[in-house]
């Protein structure tokens, strides 16, 4: 995702992305990103959790509106339902 964003930035487009792994964004360095600590496959939130899904999208729009310098913006989106994100990041099966 970061490489795609970089290409669009270089083409002059205004962009804002979600990042789920800040360490990768620190390597690829796309212009503006919003950290969302949700599991892979649940980027915007849990199934049928329309409140969180809409809130993540709103946070993207807010970030695009106010960020005037490159970097990653923190957010309050963390995953507390279970250990899925923990296991995904550490490649723990089961």
């Amino acid at each position: 995702m970061g490489l795609i964003q970089r290409g669009l930035d270089d083409a002059g487009l205004s962009t804002l992305s979600i990042t789920q792994i800040p360490e990768i964004s620190a390597i690829v360095k796309p212009s503006r990103s919003l950290f969302v600590g949700h599991p892979f496959g649940l980027t915007f939130g849990d199934l049928y959790d329309s409140g969180t899904q809409a809130a993540v999208l709103r946070a993207m729009i807010d970030a695009a509106e106010v960020m005037d310098a490159p970097g990653m913006r923190a957010s309050s989106f963390v995953w507390s339902k279970d250990d899925e994100r923990y296991r995904q990041l550490r490649k723990i099966k089961g």
Binding site: G7, L8, A26, G41
Partner: protein
């Protein structure tokens, strides 16, 4: 690689090692010294035409699926109208549970919420097309030299003022 995880693990290194072990022994993150340029939105966001780009592997059911078996990944993208119903879309991806996401595609492709953002006046309008990638691309040259310039051209045709990008 910079480690910023509070538990001390560097998940970029873990992810890279996993990809090397399971898919492509040559895989390495493409690194850059500098951030790409910030292009500020030139009009208020409530008047902006917003485009959405995803790496969730979404495509129309009748379209050719993404290649999820090759070691080089798939640099191509698919497009579909932003008005497309979820029932007309398929998710083809090797990196997450697509079966689960198909029961509520808003978890990776928030079309319902994008349309709501227009209705409630937060954004001006939606670009006519959504652009979708599969996400895993080991050989990045075709992506950077061919695919992304094509995508930029398509987004300009769509008169997108702002591009929102979401991984999976």
């Amino acid at each position: 690689m910079q480690s910023i995880d509070i538990h001390g693990a560097n998940f970029a290194e873990i992810e890279q090692a996993t990809i090397r072990e399971r898919i492509n022994p040559e895989f390495t993150w493409r690194a850059f010294d500098d951030y790409s340029p910030v292009n500020q939105l030139e009009i208020p966001v409530n008047r902006a035409r917003v485009a959405f780009v995803t790496t969730c592997g979404a495509h129309l059911t009748e379209d050719q699926p993404f290649d999820i078996k090759g070691a080089e990944g798939d640099p191509s993208f698919r497009s579909f109208p932003v008005s497309t119903s979820f029932e007309d879309l398929e998710l083809t991806h090797r990196g997450y549970n697509t079966r689960r996401a198909k029961s509520d595609m808003n978890v990776v492709l928030p079309l319902d919420h994008l349309h709501a953002a227009v209705r409630n006046g937060r954004i001006g309008s939606l670009a006519s097309n959504v652009y979708s990638f599969m996400g895993f691309v080991a050989d990045t040259e075709p992506l950077l030299q061919e695919t992304v310039p094509q995508l930029a051209g398509r987004l300009r045709q769509d008169a997108a003022d702002l591009v929102l990008l979401a991984p999976t």
